[in-house]
């Protein structure tokens, strides 16, 4: 049984996995409400909260799985990327539990977790495939050639996709987190009501392969500009107009993502696309991707919601795969704010 911890941002999570894919427990303690008064995640508060809940959450997970620590054969924890102070709580606790029991320990990359969450629910995902990570902190495209074999092809040059949803919602005072709210309101609006243009991407980027990169800041600015021009104080935007506006924003955001997806799949002749991260919950993205897949004979996979948002189940899965291959981390493993996928240090 593999025990795993995730504490990279504002969710503490513990999971217990009977490899390869039988989840015995997957608990998530969210701390969203703590950060709301500050309008964003406060790293020190996040770390303090992780510290408070990690032991009780661990104890609850054992109870839910109906096991004791004696049944655990390996321990995994997220070590990057994320907030250092937050990461260190789960990482330090996991390392010392492992040391105390003489169990193998492995540090896991959070993004690698997202890329692999799909395997907990599907045993037929073909390789190579396109792995798309779209969350509040990341928007990245990888060719996944096999387990632990990833090639980064493109990423956002500015805002992450989820960040764009959150910022647009904030601009329109729709509430937080913005993604799900925009999704709901957009369903009531006309996606073609306002035409926002797609960003033009130059060839060069920090990854050297500019053509697959995406950008959301231009779209966000265009929405803000539209509001400025149309939101006249004595005539606030009507609910219908807001629905049309967010529907049009969402339509364009999905277009931006789909443009890169279709380019990569075509250029590299890939048989499948796996989408993960919080934005994978977006109904318009799911529909566009699924329809496109059917049309182009490409299989599309979306892990279920609880595996798309931050969770420890995906960390347990990646950890179990590394441990099964005899790969472990040393006791001196540190947490890092950034870090490429697939490279273990």
């Amino acid at each position: 049984m593999i025990l795993a911890f995730e504490s990279s941002c504002d969710e503490t999570a513990v999971a217990i996995l009977a490899p390869p894919r039988q989840l015995r427990a997957s608990l998530v303690a969210s701390q969203h409400e703590i950060h709301i008064p500050f309008g964003g995640v406060v790293p020190e508060l996040a770390a303090r909260r992780h510290m408070e809940v990690i032991v009780p959450l661990y104890q609850d997970a054992l109870v839910e799985a109906g096991i004791t620590l004696d049944d655990v054969t390996g321990i995994a924890a997220t070590c990057k990327p994320g907030l250092i102070g937050a990461l260190l709580v789960g990482l330090s606790f996991a390392k010392s539990l492992a040391m105390g029991r003489n169990l193998p320990f492995i540090g896991v990359n959070h993004i690698e977790g997202h890329l692999n969450a799909v395997h907990l629910e599907h045993d037929d995902v073909p390789y190579p495939h396109l792995g798309v990570v779209v969350s509040g902190g990341h928007t990245e495209f990888y060719i996944v050639k096999g387990f632990a074999d990833y090639q980064l092809l493109g990423a956002t040059r500015d805002d992450a996709a989820g960040e764009a949803f959150d910022k647009v919602a904030k601009l329109l005072n729709l509430g937080y987190p913005g993604g799900p709210i925009v999704d709901k309101r957009a369903a009531l609006g006309n996606p073609k009501a306002i035409r926002f243009s797609l960003p033009k991407m130059s060839e060069s980027s920090k990854f050297g392969i500019g053509k697959y990169d995406v950008s959301f800041s231009g779209l966000k600015t265009a929405v803000a500009l539209w509001v400025k021009q149309n939101d006249i104080t004595d005539q606030p935007l009507s609910a219908d107009t807001i629905n049309d506006l967010v529907a049009s924003f969402q339509y364009t955001a999905v277009e931006i993502l789909m443009r890169s997806v279709s380019q990569i799949v075509t250029d590299h002749n890939l048989p499948a696309v796996v989408v993960s991260g919080g934005v994978a919950a977006n109904s318009a993205l799911r529909k566009a991707m699924t329809d496109w897949g059917i049309q182009h004979n490409v299989r599309t996979y979306f892990p279920s919601m609880k595996l798309c948002v931050d969770n420890a189940a995906m960390i347990a899965y990646v950890g179990s795969q590394y441990l099964a291959r005899g790969v472990t981390s040393n006791w001196d493993l540190n947490a890092t704010a950034s870090g490429a996928v697939g490279i273990l240090t």
Partner: protein, 225 residues
Amino acid sequence: MILFFDTSTPNGILALGQQDRCITFSHWKAEHSHSQLLPPYIDTALQELPNGISELTHITVGIGPGSFTGLRVALATAKGLAIARNIPLVAIPSPTVFATLCQATTDYAACCLDAFRGEIYLGIYKMQSGIPVLQNDIASLTPKVAAMQIAALNGSITVTGTGYDRYRDQFPSSVIPGNTHYDKAAAVSILKFATQSIQNNKTHQPAELHPYYVRDAEAVEKQKR
């Protein structure tokens, strides 16, 4: 067998032993990487025990105040070990750790830990048969206020800690600088302190022990202002 460690300051400290026997003692400098250094130090220390980690009966940990991240690394590590071994925790405030380590022979000892933002965490102790007994509520103060409280004490006084090192010129010249060349005798002093706490039943279960922050997160302090 007691394992002790403190990572509340850049001076990481670890001791293994009990009562007046110290089996190993290590200290290291780390600004930001206690999480990298502490576990290997623990692992190496435990290898000194003929029966390894199974000999541990208590984990004793410096709980702060100090570096917020340092406290959490120590506490999370202590909790993991305690749960894995099913043994209790013993908590020592970090200023008490350093007041103990300097083995003062004066009437009083004071520990000033650098709290940054122009402040220090002050603990004032009466020395009783070589053991420091806390006299105040540990708080974050300006060095000036701390120096005034120290100057008001009646008797000889030893001062130690990273805050004293940093703001030394602001303290009365009559105080005696504490010994900071920690050796096995210093380690024995802290192990004795831990042993005494255990004898007095001052132990904790992992879920109930929390870092002793003293201060709120900066964002919360700002909001209050």
